[in-house]
Symmetry: C2
Subunit: 392 residues, 2 copies
């Protein structure tokens, strides 16, 4: 633990490296000091964990690669000891790019070749969102576990079918809620919240802004029946976090709204949405939009604020606006002090735990009920949403 | 305009003032540089405005000083050219402290002496909240204008009476929503939003956390009928900002909730509340709480996020967590860049404009309809709020 706020450390490194004096600055000069109690900023580093390095623990395949999130999904399972064995995608151009990135992978002639392959225990997919649930159902019916990109399910009817087949087959239907599982500061915040660092968690606010990248989007991106609506598509991330941080295992949608204020050339697109949620252990508010301006250094200034009776945490997920590039910034204020927590070494345990779950038939990466409740609330919020139309 | 992020500037001042090298650092070394577009942080300073210095423009009085906010109220009118003439308060001990702070003020023998004083044009009050509206009604009925601390009205019945008498007398019933009018960064954000700096404003999020200061509170603080509930008491600030920044002149409460999770020894107190609002020009979410932990350097990490179709602003009202003490921090991200805007010289025009309004019978400080609509929505949110009771 030191008192170097990281931005000043960066500053020292990049700006005045040639000035010897800075290396002997007293510690106190580097910390801001104000009133007596809780006035300085502690920077705390989280210890890391060595990545898995041994023989492959299982073989997995990929079916459908329409969203580049597939790389994060694969990376998570590989870090957990999984071996990428084969891939199938209907689009030859996507497949050509994929095999360049993963040169050792075998290309299957069709989905069925993978589903029939007894050596494959787990299937990953970032196929077009409305096809994720039907594919997952087929995967489970073939005795394999499944991990989808989010949104993992786009309608309440699909959800019912997933629930039915999951219960019947006892396979895993996981959804990589990457804004928690792939964000080091959010993972660390979760450990701290569970350890009681901010008392009882009363509420969460999740903001998920995204850059539209107008020219980089495939046609299906703009069509609501294909992506499920903004609260389904983006919002399921924040619903996952709301449930996880409050510890809720039940929840309801108090209110929800969607609108399309900027991209009205796409009739069914939604560029804004929000929802108010209530769980059995806390409440939460979620806001999503597609307005990230070009002047931001990253795709979205994602934030999570976790309010507890004895303190609060703020996660600045993808950048620390006006301060530093790079993501995973965690601030914690408790009854004693204000801390910046350096999460750069924090392990992302989801992939490792999912491999454990596949091998051991456990639910350590995420309870199955949680995976589906997060999506259920997002789908209900979408279905119930008031359509906003403001005056110009 | 320069590229010195203020924290680094502070650092330079306090830590390496003796190192001559830092004064000749190239500009580029002081800005963070990442990708080509919009990657650096501009720090922009807002020019100031000379305070009024001339003969008094009007004489004003104070009736009721139960909350120390009265000092901010007096300061605003004094900066606008008002002369504090007289005071009345029922509590001798509060009066004794007050006359120490304002030695020139005449102490009236009773409220009526002030109400009958023809030289007084404006009355200010921070009397116990549930007495503010009845007092304001009497003030208006005596032909004077009125400015209350917030909450300026604690029930919908009081509001109806204020509306009736205000229309009848054509006097001003103002409420100092200090988290906008007394916060330089929020004032500046308002100017920028009105100038179209972030396109069309779609939504605002206002977070108003407060420190409980358990031992410093008078008995009335804990009794809901006296303070009106958390959404009335604190929330009216953020409702004001929601209406102002979206430009809404109509609004409705979509949903609201209150709870008391930490201070259950006070049966009617509320330590948490939130509301979702919809206006004719935008939507807004508001969260209030009394959980500010002792490890924060100020009474509350108030935030306002203004989301526009072409950019967004974040106001860190009272401190910049983990970065610097002091308030009024404004960040703006637009299609071009990310800017930190130094608002330390920004004028706070409310008092000056209120004095104008008293003299000219105008509504430049705040439209009368806006003052009362902000309070109406807060009161409705409070009245409709679902009482939250989570499992332990």
């Amino acid at each position: 633990m030191s008192r170097h706020p990281f931005d000043r450390r960066d500053f020292l490194k990049t700006a005045v490296a040639s000035t010897a004096a800075v290396t002997v600055l007293p510690q106190a000069a580097l910390g801001w000091s104000g009133k007596a109690s809780g006035s300085h900023i502690e920077t705390e580093s989280v210890p890391g964990r060595a990545p898995y390095s041994g023989p492959p623990r299982l073989r997995f395949a990929v079916i459908g690669i329409n969203h580049p999130h597939i790389d994060g999904q694969i990376g998570a399972v590989q870090r957990g000891g999984g071996e990428l064995a084969s891939v199938y995608a209907a689009e030859p151009e996507l497949l050509a790019e994929f095999t360049k990135r993963y040169p050792g992978v075998r290309v299957a002639r069709g989905e069925d070749e993978i589903l029939q392959d007894g050596s494959i225990q787990l299937v990953l997919s970032s196929i077009i969102p409305d096809q994720r649930a039907p594919l997952g159902v087929r995967v489970m019916q073939h005795g394999k576990d499944y991990m989808a990109d989010k949104p993992g399910i786009t309608t309440l009817e699909q959800l019912a079918e997933v629930r039915r087949v999951q219960a019947q087959t006892n396979r895993i239907y996981s959804i990589l809620y990457s804004e928690r599982h792939e964000n080091r500061a959010t993972v660390r915040a979760g450990e701290l919240a569970k350890a009681g660092a901010i008392g009882k968690v009363v509420q969460t606010i999740g903001m998920g802004p995204h850059r539209i990248s107008l020219n980089a989007r495939p046609p299906w991106f703009w069509v609501k029946p294909r992506f499920g609506g903004i609260l389904c598509d983006i919002g399921s991330h924040q619903v996952d976090q709301f449930l996880y941080f409050t510890g809720s295992t039940q929840g309801e949608v108090v209110a929800s709204q969607v609108g399309n204020f900027k991209f009205s050339q796409y009739a069914t697109f939604e560029d804004f949405g929000d929802m108010l949620l209530r769980g059995d252990k806390g409440t939460g508010y979620i806001r999503n939009d597609w307005y990230t301006p070009d002047g931001l250094s990253t795709w979205g200034d994602g934030r999570l604020t976790i309010l507890g009776t004895e303190g609060y945490m703020e996660v600045r997920k993808n950048n620390d606006i006006g301060r530093a590039p790079g993501g995973s910034h965690l601030y914690l204020v408790d009854q004693k002090e204000t801390r910046y927590i350096d999460c750069s070494q924090q392990e992302l345990p989801y992939g490792r735990l999912l491999v454990d779950d596949v091998l051991n038939r456990t639910e350590t990466s995420m309870p199955q009920a949680h995976v589906l409740l997060a999506t259920e609330l997002a789908l209900k919020a979408e279905a119930q949403a008031t359509k906003l139309t403001f005056q110009a």
